[in-house]
Amino acid sequence: MSGSMNRAVISHWSPDNQERAAAILASYPEQRSAVMPLLYVASREHRYVTEDAMKEVAELVGISASQVLSVASFYTMYKREPVGDYLISVCTSISCHLLGGDQVLDAASSAAGVANGETTDDGRISVERAECIGACGGAPAVQVNYELIEGITPDKVTALISWLTDTEPNVVFTDEMQQLFGGERSFDWGPTESTGATSAVPAFAPYGSASEGT
């Protein structure tokens, strides 16, 4: 079933993303399983899941566009509107709630000047309320493009947003941000992390490399 991708459907995607799509389709026993990773590749291509992208993914996999929409609309990490360069996800689930996560969310919103779930006019910063991100021992915690910062405070998240706006890093590194803006962590030791994120789409092979820092 695999290996028969109709590349013409996505000939306007970058060559890298076309390769990623082909590799993903070839890697599953049944093609429909490729829908979720292909939606991530489409997000890399367009910065969010566009209507056209859903049609393209549908054609690649051999299902209807409405079936792809049913998937894209179910999962919170598929954004169907443009997302900022830096997606700030603030956790307010129970452990973060107990230690001030709601105040961190308020501070992030007011520093960026946008409400929960919105993006700044210049397209730089999006702020969203996140449900538990698995950093409860280092609560409260936030993620920038899914790179984690634990032990944050309202003041530190304000400083984080200024730093992102001022320095416009191409890659955000969890270790660097933790050092600058974080506090106590869930487990406070371990190998350093040399890779980070370049966009609000989670990155790892085969549609991002484990070693390239994409």
Partner: protein
């Protein structure tokens, strides 16, 4: 009581415990080589069954028994549940980031035991770093010949890849996870059929948690009987506890079950921050009904905690001190479940939202005297009788989980809830 199985390597080699070099240097993959060369699949499965390991994802079902249900019809699949999303839980993240080869070795040994040639690791999308670490480990394992075709001339072949989730807690439920892996909405399926008979692509499938499978190399190396002899009967082995909230030393702790809650919260956890008084704690993730100080001397075993009308669940212990606003805490938990409801079953989809709205108005100072009865009535519609383990009107336990904080605050803190409704200031600290 210092036995460590899962966290030895990361404890002794904190700077590089995730790498192949360190894994090999500390005896890694030796068990796999031994198993492939001189054990039969049946022998390995027998060791796992003898270990009495109960699944570490939350349900506590014996792993060896689950394996025994796998229908004998190819192709079969192994799926690792790394969708850790239960509020308060962060143990699997540590195992994924700090010792991914331990998991990979467990997957290869387990697949060999089960006659499986294709495995998936379903990692929640927000665990970007964990996914990178596991991907790196998979690539290293392929390069070294621990994965792929004809592993060490055994004739056994295995392919493993990561499937990244999309930010939906419900995909931690195993049938929802399988739907998600099939490229569908993460909606739980009616059981039966169980995944062991008709799982991924309607094929026989075993779904196991990260922590459960990470124990397999040790069990096979040391024997199931040795594992079963650690800790109390029916709660064998070590277990990762995620401790968070108002304690002095939050974190993950691998401990032998059987110690008391007092030992965990005041000993290992260093007690309550700022010298405050303990008010209540959640013993096993946000789905679990809460406990209060009178339960401090109950042992941490699956069965002892179940007998208190709650559960050890995912091993996530969230501690609240005297300053905690229990209504606001319950609201945070209920909002979580309302947000994460998949929407299939009316009692959950509508009920969780009702619970959220009612708690919200109580918090806003516009609660009504009848709201306490209404909270319990809505809860009773989701989980008739409000017993534990919960009765269900739904396909999966997500809806009933949302009633846990309601039961807890009305059972232990009714005066505080009433006082909020009556509009009086409550002195909570």
């Amino acid at each position: 009581m210092t036995t460590k199985i899962l966290t030895t390597r990361m404890g002794e080699h904190p700077s590089d415990s995730n790498t192949m070099a360190r894994y090999l240097d500390t005896g890694g993959y030796a068990t796999l080589k031994h198993a492939l060369a001189s054990m039969s699949p049946e022998q390995i499965a027998a060791e796992v069954k003898a270990s009495n390991l109960r699944g570490r994802g939350g349900a506590g079902f014996p792993m060896g028994v689950k394996w025994g249900f796998l229908a004998d019809s190819d192709p079969k699949y192994l799926v690792i549940n790394a969708d850790e999303s239960e509020p308060g839980t962060f143990k699997d993240r540590q195992l994924l980031e700090r010792d991914p080869h331990q998991l990979v070795e467990g997957i290869v040994i387990s697949s060999f035991a089960l006659g499986i040639n294709r495995a998936f690791i379903y990692i929640r999308g927000e665990y970007a770093k964990a996914a990178r670490r596991v991907q790196q480990a998979i690539e290293e394992a392929y390069d070294a010949g621990y994965l792929g075709e004809d592993i060490f001339g055994s004739g056994f072949s295995l392919d493993v890849s990561i499937h990244l989730g999309g930010g939906a807690y419900i995909c931690g439920e195993e049938t929802a996870l399988l739907n998600s892996l099939e490229g569908k909405r993460g909606e739980p399926r009616l059981k039966p059929p169980f995944p062991a008979v008709a799982g991924l692509y309607a094929r026989p499938t075993i779904v196991n948690n990260v922590e459960s499978i990470s124990n397999v190399p040790w069990i096979v190396a040391n024997g199931g009987v040795a594992y079963a002899s650690i800790g109390p009967e029916r709660s064998a082995g070590t277990r990762m506890f995620s401790l968070s909230g108002h304690v002095n030393k939050p974190g993950n702790y691998e401990i032998v079950m059987g110690m008391s809650w007092r030992d965990l919260i005041y000993g290992i956890g260093g007690g309550i921050r700022d010298g405050n008084e303990l008010k209540t704690w959640i013993p096993g993730g946000a789905s679990a009904p809460w406990l209060v100080p009178e339960h401090l001397d109950t042992p941490l075993t699956i069965d002892d905690v179940t007998a208190l009308g709650t559960m050890l669940g995912s091993g996530a212990v969230v501690v609240m001190d005297e300053t905690a606003d229990v209504v606001a805490a319950a609201h945070s938990i209920v909002r979580f479940f309302a947000h994460e409801s998949c929407g299939q079953c009316t009692p959950c989809r509508e009920g969780t939202r009702w619970l959220q709205d009612i708690l919200e108005r109580i918090l806003n100072g516009t609660g009504r005297t009848s709201d306490i009865d209404l909270l319990l009535d809505v809860s009773d519609n989701i989980s008739p009788g409000l017993t534990w383990p919960p009765a269900m009107t739904t396909i999966c336990p997500l809806g009933p989980s949302a009633t846990a904080p309601i039961i807890s605050i009305t059972m232990y803190f009714l005066d505080e809830v009433r006082a909020k409704i009556d509009g009086f200031e409550v002195a909570v600290g």
